[in-house]
Structures are given as structure tokens and as C-alpha cells.
């Protein structure tokens, strides 16, 4: 394995500063993403950050790297194309719960079952913030929002359990108020070969008055500190993924080494597509015509 040369965090300093609300949880996530890339030793030119649409999806603009600030819900699909086009790139998706678990959930599930070598950081604030406070797929049952004035009647998505049953090979949860811990989880995801989900509690200080920093501060605990917790045990991970209430786990729930989608693609045996010759081989081309004679 190649030696990892850590980079200074300022290598990833973006062109402009975030325009998030003061106190937004996403600031912590932004810091952790940069720390993680530095820790994982990914050169900015080899890092592509792909987001969808939403407050948190503005993140690529604040990092010095390549990136696509794509359409609402489509970051995973765009990232799939980028990764398959150039497997030598490190591709990280960032976005929110509405983007990833609502409008984009189809791509999320399918990317996991493919075990593509992608890292997905979801800033989960359990609300639609950019559109000023409607219920999201992770809004808790009963919560009043602008679109559910009488209380949300739907059950929230459980992203960790969904990832575990969908074939993700690295499933973690972080908390934006714990940036060092979160950076370790994201760096682990970047270094992991396969699909990594890092769901992050990233409170919306403006529109979610329930799931606040105070709410999480007294509930979250770190799995790393739990004696005997085995992140290779999918049943144990499933059990922890369902834990919600007085105690909510953060940390690495599950990790497994499995062949990636890229490993099984025979065309990659000749290297990344961007480095393969553009023109068709003449003999191959002739055979394409001849098979129709």
C-alpha cells in the first residue's frame, strides 16, 4: 500500500466563503471534509466533489478541488459517470437529506448495491432549509414544519439501515460538532475501497427547532468508545442503526471489504478511460463492419 502523505488543510481553501446561516452545522462538515482530504493525502487536483442542490450542496464551491454542483438529487449519478470515466480520481459526494434521501434516493440505493468506489457525505438536518423549512425524508414523525403544520405523519427514512441492506461497504455517522471525529470517518471513507456513506447530524439552526445542537449534545455517543463493538458485524450494526432516543450512536457502524464495481469492469484492465487511446483499433473497427456481411 502506498504511503499516505498528509497535506496541509489550507491546500483545500476554496475561492469564496460559505454563505450559510451563522451557526449552521455545515461549517463543521466543510472543515471536516477538508481535514479528511488532507489526512487521506488526496491532492486537490485529484479530488472531485459532487453535490446536488440545497444549502449543504453549496459545499464544493468552498473547497479548492474539482467539482460539480449538479442538479437536485443527481449528485450520485453524476459522480458515477465521473468515477467510471476516470478511476484514478477520488470522488466525494456531498449534499443534504432532501437531496440524497428524498429526490435522489433511487441513485443512492443503486450506487450502494453496485459498491462503486465513492464516498457520500450527507449533511442531515432533517428539514428542507433552502426552501425555508418544509418536512424532509428524515423529519421525525409528529414534527411541525411549514409543510406539515399539524405534524408530520410519515416515518423518517433510516439512512444507516438502508445503507446496510443496500450493499454499502462502509457505513458511518458523524456529528458536525465533532469535526475531528467526523474528519476521521470521512478520511476512512475516502480510503475505503467501495461505497462509503457518512450520514452527518448537521443541525439547521434556522428552521429545525427540534433536532438542535443541544438535542444531539445530550444524546450522541461514540461507537469507538463502546467496549466490544465490532464494526465487521452487520447484525450489530443493524441493531445500532435502529437506536434513536436518549442514546444515538455516531462513529463507524460497519465496514467490509468487497470487490468494487470498478474491479469487475474488464475495460478498466487497460487503465482509466481518460488514459486509453481515443481512436478505435483498425482491425477491431473492420470486424465491426464485417460481422454484418
Amino acid at each position: 500500500m502506498a504511503t499516505i502523505v498528509e497535506l496541509p488543510i489550507y491546500s483545500f481553501e476554496g475561492l469564496v466563503d460559505p454563505d450559510w446561516c451563522p451557526g449552521c452545522g455545515d461549517f463543521g462538515v466543510l472543515k471536516s471534509v477538508k481535514m479528511a482530504a488532507a489526512k487521506a493525502g488526496v491532492a486537490p487536483k485529484d479530488l472531485v466533489i459532487v453535490s446536488g442542490i440545497g444549502c449543504s450542496s453549496n459545499l464544493p464551491g468552498y473547497v479548492h478541488a474539482y467539482g460539480v454542483h449538479s442538479l437536485h438529487g443527481r449528485s450520485v449519478a453524476v459522480a458515477t459517470g465521473i468515477k467510471l470515466a476516470n478511476t484514478s480520481l477520488k470522488v466525494v459526494m456531498t449534499g443534504g437529506d432532501g437531496d440524497g434521501y428524498g429526490i435522489g434516493i433511487g441513485h443512492f440505493i443503486h450506487a450502494m448495491r453496485r459498491n462503486l468506489d465513492l464516498t457520500y457525505v450527507v449533511m442531515d438536518n432533517q428539514i428542507y432549509g433552502l426552501t425555508t423549512g418544509q418536512a424532509s425524508p428524515t423529519t421525525m414523525k409528529g414534527q411541525r414544519t411549514k409543510s406539515t403544520p399539524l405534524g408530520n405523519v410519515e416515518l423518517p427514512i433510516n439512512p444507516l439501515a438502508l445503507a446496510l441492506v443496500s450493499g454499502a461497504t462502509y457505513v458511518a455517522r458523524g456529528y458536525s460538532a465533532e469535526p475531528n471525529h467526523l474528519a476521521d470517518l470521512i478520511a476512512g471513507g475516502i480510503q475505503h475501497k467501495g461505497f462509503a456513506l457518512i450520514d452527518v447530524f448537521s443541525p439547521c439552526v434556522t428552521y429545525n427547532k427540534v433536532n438542535t445542537f443541544a438535542y444531539f449534545k445530550k444524546r450522541v455517543y461514540k461507537l469507538e468508545a463502546e467496549k466490544g463493538y465490532d464494526s465487521n458485524n452487520v447484525s450489530a450494526a443493524m441493531e445500532r442503526s435502529a437506536e434513536w432516543g436518549d442514546r444515538i450512536p455516531i462513529g463507524l457502524l460497519y465496514k467490509d471489504e468487497q470487490p468494487t464495481y470498478e474491479d469487475s469492469e474488464r475495460v478498466f484492465q487497460k487503465g482509466p478511460l481518460t488514459q486509453q487511446p481515443l481512436r478505435a483499433d483498425k482491425a477491431v473497427f473492420q470486424s465491426l463492419i464485417d460481422e454484418n456481411l
Binding site: G81, N86, G106, H110, V267, L273, A280, F285
Partner: protein, 658 residues
């Protein structure tokens, strides 16, 4: 007779496609031209399949107007098609199971094949090999070379071993000898030049063009009639170095293709109208982030799920209007199979040169029908132009200007992994460096200039593309206008019209956007009578032509029944228009028969068939009626009468005979 049309009728699962391919390749290996069209249905078994294969000494551009030889694989096909066979033609069928139970034209040869007896010496055969007996007899009747036909079978079954080849060739020979001992050939005189031409579909030609152009990524979700590209690409993926990704839906398909294009490979995705509707938001994204991607829209009959296995040209409005906002896009409508190859190559070059989405719009007819193409048209040495792709950024003053405001509108492009050119491709509007000018930090001046920068690329692209030209005589009284796949059939209609004294020429459009409005207008100003021929119900192209040129066409010939134009259908309508005859949308006699077939299938369990069809007064229903005898399939005895409105096509009543 310089060409011949063979019709093969049967049910899905009867092996009709393979049989037709054997005949077509026998013709093409002998040096003839071939064109096949399979009018099939969206069922895997059953239904009615009607495949026509036209073969000629000269290039043929459609499946033609007449059928000269019928291979009937079931009774239904005899009942439906035996009466259409031209005098001098032949009807071939399995005499063990089928019989001619319907009047046929004079001087039509009936060839009842005793399949069991003929194949007995060859051991147990598959039921589908009844087709091969008929093919053998047909090869004799058409005066084709038996050895060429057997070489086609040998190649077809090469993967199954010599035993299977020998059996098939033996069966073919049995049919050939049976015909030779009893009949004389139908009288076609061929000059077998032995020039071998590939026989392939538009989907195949387009895929080969994409590979030649350096396509490295193809994504799709299965959808008829675009699936042929997906399966071709999947089958040739490793050999051609193309990563083929079937995604979960067309949203993913389009977005993944854009991701690959952004990352620096030549990228394409394909679908039909419904899938394209799902892709539209992403197409606007490709325009906004200036990612080069080729989108293929293979039209089928719409709206909605529509008629999935039938052809139409009714998605033009959709490709013109795909996605919100103004952005540059290029739309190309290939005119024939060969042009599918060329258009794919052009599309990749245009996409990279102008850093924008390019849409290739074809249709079921063009994408799925096979035809012979001159082999020299296909070359691996196609032009490749990657546009303003740069390997670095020397400026040093500030960040890389991925979206630099240039006079041409084209900005330098790099791919991720390049040092010093890091940028974010944003779907929010942005400045030269890719920094957002949306929401909090909107900037009207930058917005105006970047919008102009993007759209300027269209002016340049227009100058890059060849303008439309008149084909044919300058002294024409009628100019037939078309776009896309109808070029060949309109060309044949023009020939028919000129031969019968109506001076006609042709104006055909391949580049639909940007549009040569000025050049088109110069031509149209001089035309005496313009008739737009389109395979849709509302004349979508005629409307765009009016928008771009101010020219309103004199008349329109529209077809939207799902079946492709035949040349005589066009020429007859042109003559009627020129003669000032009133146009009618009334149900024709043959359509009345089709409606009766539908009724018999749905309500009478296919036990009967339509017989005599007569027009009658409306009898209080407010319109004239078609009275269709419904008769027994065996004896033709009348069992009832169906009444269908001549104007509305409504099925009014079914009266059983007491």
C-alpha cells in the same frame, strides 16, 4: 423487374427476423441491395408480424409499395396478405398445416410445401426449420445462388457446430430442389456483382460511428426502440473499450453521461421519447456547465407509452424544448442508415467543439430496419476534433477561467486531474471562474454576459454546419420537404412523381438546430408549391420551419398510424393535392378490415376473419358505414356483420347471422 419485395408473415417467436436476414444476406453477398422492415408488435410470442424485405440491383430506399412473394408461417398471414401478392408473384406455405382459403390475384404461383415429407430424410427437425424449407424454395424462385444462401446459413450456425450447419443446409436444399422440380423461377434477372455490403440497422451504424469517434462511455435504461444501441454496446464493450452502464432510470442515465463528459471522455446516452422526457433537466445542466455529451432520442409512437413498437416523428417539439431556460444545443436528424454513422461522428465533434449537449434524433424505422450500405462509407479514420481542450493554465493571475468570456463564446476546457485548472462546474449560473452569481450574490451584468457567451456558440455552430440544399430539378412545380428518416422514401416518391409527369424536387433537413433559416428561406421563396411530409399528427417540423423562415408550407402530408410511409402513399397524395382533390380522413376499406380484425380478436376469440367489405348508408347513425362480413376462417361462411363508421371509425354494432 429491377427489385423484388418478399413478405414474411407469422407470429412473434416464429423466427421471422432470422429468416429474412438469411435471404437479405444472400442478396447482399451476391451484390444486390437490400432493405428490410419488420412491422412487429410488443409481444414476445403471438400477435401478427409482417416483415417486408426489398432487394434490388440498385440501392433501395424503402420497403416499397408492392409485395411479390409471401412466405406465410401461419393461416392468419395467408388470410391477411395472400390477396396483396402481385401477379407474377408467389405464395409459399407449409402445406401440412395451412391452405389458401382466400382469393388471390391472377397469375400468382402457389407453392404448398410438404414440410414433413421433405424433411423426413433429415431426421427430427426444429419447428422453426419449416422456414428454411420455404427459404430454399424462395431462393430458387428468385433465381438466387444456392451456394451463397448456404454460406449464410453456415455462418449463422457456425457457433452450433457442423452438424447443425449440415442439417440446416440440407433442409434449405430440400426446399430448393422441391421448387426446382416443379416450378420455374419468377423471372427476375440479376447481375450478381458479388460486391459484399454490410447489412445493418441505424442503431448499429450509429453505435459503430460512436466507437469510431472515440466514445468511451455509454449509459442507458432499456427502452424500445433505443435498446438496440444498449445491447450492441454491451456486446462489443470489451472489444471496443467502451464502458456500458445500464442505470436505474433515465435521470441517472443522463446525469452519469454528463459526469463522464465532464471528466473528459467522449460520452453518449440513448433512449426513446418517454426516457428522454426524464432526461430533460439534465440536458439543461449539460448546457449550463458546458459539458460535451451526445444524447440519442430514438422516437416511437407517442404520446405517453403510446405505440412502443411503431414508428413516428412526433418528438421534435420535445427535443427543441427540452429543459428550462435558454442554452445552446445542437440537434441532428440523420437521414438514413449510413448517415447514422456520420451523424454519430459529427455529434461527438460538435459536442466537444461547442461544449454543449448534442441531440441525435432518429426513429424506430431508421433505428431498427436493416439495409445494405456501401462498405467504403465506413472508415476508422474519421475526423476527431476535441475543441478547446487545454492541458494547463499559464495565466497565473487568479483562478482558472473555465468559463472565460471569449469572442467566440468557447472557453478553455480541462479535465479533472489537471494541475492548476481546478474549478467547480455549477448548475447555478456563475462567473468566468465558475463562482456562483445566484442567490445572495446575484450580478445582472455578469449574468447578461455569460448568457451571451453561451448562446454565441450557436452562431458559430451554424456557420460550421452545411446548409440545406434542393435535390433534383430546378423547374419543379412541387417541392417535398422532410426531415430525418423520411429522406429515402420521399426520394422514391419524387422519382415516381417525375415519372408520372408531376415535376417534383426535394428539400430535406438534417441539422435542425441551429437552423439555417436564411438559406432555407432563399430556397423556399423560389419554390412554387411546398408540401411538408412528416410522420406525425400536427406537422411539428412545418411549424418550426415557419418560425425560422416565415414560410408557411402550401400543404402537408402527415402520417401517424405507426407504420412508415411507402413511396406511393406520398406520391398519390401529392397528385391529389396538385389536382385539387378534397382530402379525406375517412376510414378506408383496408382500414375497415383492420378495425374488424381488432374486433374479432378482442370479442370473438380470433375464430373468424373479415370477409366482404361494403359501404352503406348510415341508417340513423349520422354517418356512412362500412359493413364488414365476419366469416369463418376455414370455409368463409358468413357468421355476422360488423358496422364501422366511415367518418369516426367507431365500431357500432355486431350482428350475428341468425
Amino acid at each position: 423487374m429491377s427489385d423484388v419485395v418478399v413478405g414474411i408473415g407469422g407470429a412473434a417467436g416464429d423466427g421471422i427476423d432470422k429468416s429474412a436476414e438469411t435471404v437479405a444476406k444472400t442478396a447482399s453477398r451476391s451484390g444486390l441491395h437490400a432493405y428490410g422492415f419488420n412491422s412487429y408488435q410488443s409481444v414476445i410470442r403471438g400477435g401478427h408480424i409482417w416483415l417486408r424485405l426489398r432487394m434490388g440491383q440498385e440501392k433501395v430506399h424503402s420497403h416499397g409499395d408492392h409485395t411479390h412473394a409471401l412466405i406465410a408461417l401461419n393461416q392468419d398471414s395467408i388470410e391477411r396478405h395472400a390477396p396483396e401478392i402481385e401477379s407474377g408473384g408467389a405464395i409459399l406455405f407449409n402445406a401440412d398445416k395451412l391452405r389458401i382459403n382466400i382469393p388471390v390475384r391472377d397469375n400468382v404461383l402457389t407453392v404448398p410445401l410438404p414440410i414433413a415429407e421433405l424433411t423426413k430424410p433429415l431426421g427430427a427437425i426444429q419447428p422453426v426449420m419449416q422456414n428454411t424449407v420455404a427459404l430454399g424454395a424462395l431462393i430458387f424462385l428468385l433465381d438466387f445462388d444456392f451456394d451463397v444462401a448456404s454460406s449464410v446459413l453456415a455462418d449463422t450456425f457456425a457457433h452450433k457446430g457442423q452438424g447443425v450447419i449440415d442439417q440446416n443446409v440440407g433442409v434449405l436444399k430440400a426446399g430448393y430442389n422441391y421448387a426446382r422440380e416443379r416450378f420455374v423461377p419468377l423471372g427476375h434477372k440479376w447481375n450478381f456483382t458479388r460486391k459484399r455490403r454490410p447489412y445493418l440497422t441505424g442503431n448499429e451504424a450509429l453505435s459503430i460511428g460512436a466507437v469510431a469517434a472515440g466514445c468511451k462511455f455509454y449509459s442507458a435504461y432499456p427502452m424500445t426502440p433505443a435498446s438496440g444501441i444498449l445491447t450492441w454496446m454491451a456486446e462489443h464493450s470489451e472489444r471496443c473499450g467502451v464502458v456500458v452502464k445500464q442505470m436505474e432510470d433515465e435521470l441517472a442515465v443522463a446525469n452519469a453521461a454528463i459526469g463522464a463528459g465532464y471528466a473528459g471522455v467522449r460520452s453518449m446516452c440513448g433512449t426513446s421519447g418517454g426516457g428522454f422526457a426524464l432526461m430533460t433537466e439534465a440536458i439543461g445542466m449539460a448546457g449550463m456547465i458546458e459539458a460535451p455529451v451526445v444524447f440519442v432520442e430514438v422516437q416511437r409512437g407517442g404520446p405517453s407509452t403510446g405505440i412502443p413498437t411503431k414508428t413516428e416523428q412526433a418528438d421534435l417539439n420535445q427535443v427543441y424544448g427540452a429543459s428550462q431556460g435558454d442554452f445552446p444545443r445542437i440537434i441532428i436528424a440523420p437521414k438514413d442508415t449510413r448517415d447514422c454513422f456520420d451523424s454519430a461522428v459529427e455529434a461527438f465533434n460538435l459536442a466537444e467543439k461547442y461544449q454543449c449537449p448534442v441531440i441525435i434524433i432518429t426513429d424506430l424505422l431508421l433505428s431498427e430496419h436493416p439495409e445494405t450500405v456501401e462498405p467504403e462509407y465506413f472508415s476508422a479514420d474519421v475526423p476527431i476534433d476535441r475543441g478547446e481542450m487545454v492541458s494547463g493554465w499559464k495565466n497565473g493571475n487568479g483562478a482558472f477561467k473555465r468559463y472565460a468570456f471569449t469572442k467566440s463564446g468557447i472557453s478553455p476546457r480541462t479535465i479533472p486531474g489537471t494541475a492548476d485548472t481546478l474549478y467547480i462546474a455549477a448548475t447555478d449560473d456563475h462567473d468566468e471562474e465558475g463562482v456562483l452569481i445566484s442567490d445572495v450574490f446575484c450580478n445582472a451584468a455578469i449574468r447578461r454576459k455569460i448568457s451571451e457567451k453561451r448562446m454565441k456558440k450557436m452562431d458559430l455552430a451554424l456557420r460550421d454546419l452545411p446548409a440545406p440544399q434542393i435535390e433534383g430539378r430546378a423547374d419543379a412545380d412541387v417541392t417535398l420537404i422532410g426531415w430525418g428518416s423520411t429522406e429515402g422514401v420521399i426520394r422514391e416518391a419524387v422519382q415516381q412523381l417525375n415519372a408520372s409527369g408531376t415535376r417534383t424536387n426535394q428539400l430535406h433537413f438534417k441539422y435542425l438546430l441551429p437552423f439555417h433559416g436564411k438559406e432555407a428561406n432563399e430556397i423556399l421563396k423560389r419554390a412554387k408549391r411546398t408540401i411538408c411530409v412528416e410522420q406525425n399528427a400536427t406537422g411539428q417540423f412545418a411549424r418550426h420551419l415557419r418560425a425560422e423562415t416565415g414560410h408557411s408550407v402550401s400543404d402537408q402530408i402527415l402520417k401517424y398510424d405507426g407504420e412508415p410511409f411507402e413511396p406511393a402513399q406520398i406520391s398519390a397524395q401529392v397528385r391529389a393535392i396538385v389536382a385539387g382533390q378534397p382530402r379525406s380522413l375517412d376510414v378506408t376499406e383496408s382500414e375497415a378490415r383492420e378495425i374488424a380484425y381488432h374486433y374479432v380478436r378482442v370479442h370473438l376469440n380470433d375464430e373468424f376473419r373479415p370477409g366482404r367489405v361494403q359501404k352503406a348508408a348510415g341508417n340513423g347513425l349520422g354517418e356512412a358505414l362500412w359493413k364488414i362480413d365476419v366469416v369463418t376462417r376455414e370455409g368463409g361462411e358468413k357468421r355476422g356483420e360488423l358496422q364501422v363508421g366511415v367518418e369516426t371509425g367507431s365500431t357500432y354494432s355486431w350482428q350475428p347471422v341468425r
